[in-house]
Each structure stands twice: as C-alpha cells, then as structure tokens.
Amino acid sequence: MDAMDRAIVNSLQGGFPVTEQPFADVATTLGLSEDDLISRIGNLLVQGTLTRFGPMYHAERLGGALTLAAMKIPPAEFDRVAEIVNSFPEVAHNYARDHAFNMWFVLATETPEEIGRVIVKIEHKTGHIVHNMPKVEEFFVGLRFEA
C-alpha cells in the first residue's frame, strides 16, 4: 500500500458519487486517472485491505432486523457450537471473545419476527441459551479507519 492507496482508503469511506462516471469524478480530485483508480481499488480488494466497495445498507430500514446475541459455551463444546451457529445463514458475524459470555454473533433476518424463531432454533440445536441483546437505542455508527 503506497501513499496513493492510503489516500484512496482514507478519502473514499463515504460520499462516492452516484453519477455517470463516478470513478472518473473521484479520480480527478485524487489526481489519478480513472483507470488507475479502478485498478487500485481492485487491488485493495484482492489484497484484503478493503472488504467491499459499494453501498452500505441499513438493514432495519429495509424492513429487516438485526440483533446481537451472546452465548456462554464451555470450552470443550465451543467448536461444536460454533459450527452449528455458523451454519445458520442468518448469522452474519460471529466472534469468540475472552469472557464467560464467549460467543457473540449478529443475527440478520428479513423480518423482526424471524429473530425470535432463529434464536429458538439455535438454542434447540446447541442445547445452550442464547442471550438476545437487541439495540434499544443507537448513539453512533460509522467510524472511519485511517490507513
């Protein structure tokens, strides 16, 4: 990653235009050619510096639902339970964390009602309680990472 890649990562975390030739518009402000910008973004994606390039959607505003859920899993069962939890397509992210509540995942469903149904299914398949921690209020979203 060179200085120009950093400039791209830092300046393009939002505000990408909806225009005929958006890459050309942005390339001008960065002092690049359109082709160069497109190939650099492609490389950043291939290298894994960027996970995605495009619109970020607000799931709840699409009628979908999101929740954060936590489980307390004994170490000996952890991998087995992780495999079951991950097998649900509604599980978008799942992280192991160093706490008695050691498995934390985000559930995303198309309707709010499905959240409860998926939780019951996960409990049934794993034999462990799922602690549902839906957001009551959101204070801020959208950190920008500096490259």
Binding site: V18, T19, E20, R61, H93, F140, A147
Partner: protein
C-alpha cells in the same frame, strides 16, 4: 469527521417504503459496485432498467438513510487496527441516552448502543466498540470513557475478540 446520530430502531423500521425494484438494486449491489467506468449503467443493464432510474433510486436511498454511505469498506485488521475491544458499561437507566451520546461522540468509538441487561450475569446496558492498534491503545481509550462517565460508571469490562468465527456481509434478497 462524523456527527453523532441518535435513532430509535423501532421507529425507523416502519417508515421506509422500499419497492421490488429497489430490492433488486440492493441485491445487485450489496456485494459491491462493479469496478467499471459506468458502474450504475452496468447494474441497470444487468437488471434491465434505465441507468437514470438506478441512479435516481440510489440517490433516494442515500437521502432516506436506506444506504448509510457509498464507498470503501476497509478491513480494519489489514489497516493495523488489530485490537478490537467491546467495552460494556453499567450506567443508571435514567441516564443511558445522555451518557451513550457522550460516549458516541468520542473519536475512538465506532458503535455505541443501549442494549438490555441480562441479570444477574450481565449487568451492562451500554456497549461501545473501541478500536486500536494494540490493546494498550484500547485500554487507554477505555480509561477515557471511564473518566467521562465518572460516578455514573457502576461497572465496566472490555471483551476482546480472540477469533473471528464467521464474517459475511448482510444478505438481502431481492
């Protein structure tokens, strides 16, 4: 660089009309925009609709907040933000909104939410995600939050991620 947004999720879910064409555009773009000269034209062609319509609809979704933003989504691990601490706080219920907003205003905090307690094991009602290049940086930022809360902090801890077990984007079907 960012302004705090205060929203209540239960309100916003009923207010946003999305039609079938919007959903098709969402399904076609959620993995990313095509990396071509005219990305919106490419989507239009794929869906068999006019480019102008794709752009109008995407602009409208940006305005209504259905699209949070368009751009690069960095992998924070790849950028050297190796430490990701989920700080959780027990604050008085009648001050959650006020204090959550203050925490959210800090530059080091990416996400801040009020979530329900699960007593007796889980007394925490505010979650603030803190990112740093290492744990020392995260701890420093957590200290900042503790100072900000003062007496209102009735207990906190930080949960570090030790492994990513699964990471996929949100999938929205057409």
């Amino acid at each position: 660089m960012h302004a705090a947004q205060i929203k209540t999720s239960s309100v916003e879910s009923d207010t946003m009309p999305i039609d079938t064409t919007d959903r098709r555009i969402i399904a076609a773009t959620q993995a990313g925009l095509p990396l071509v000269t005219r990305p919106y034209h490419a989507i239009a062609e794929q869906l068999g609709i006019e480019p102008q319509e794709v752009m109008q609809r995407m602009n409208r979704m940006c305005e209504s907040g259905v699209i949070r933003r368009i751009g690069a989504v960095p992998n924070h691990y790849a950028l050297g933000y190796q430490a990701n601490g989920m700080s959780v706080w027990n604050v008085p219920d009648d001050r959650v909104s006020e204090l959550g907003r203050k925490i959210g205003d800090l530059d080091c905090v990416s996400h801040c939410y009020h979530r329900p307690r699960h007593l007796p094991d889980w007394p925490y009602n505010v979650f603030a995600m803190v990112h740093g290049r290492d744990r020392a940086e995260v701890e420093q930022k957590v200290k900042q939050i503790a100072e900000l809360l003062g007496d209102a902090n009735q207990g906190h801890t930080v949960l570090y991620s030790t492994r990513i077990l699964k990471k996929t984007g949100l999938r929205i079907s057409a």
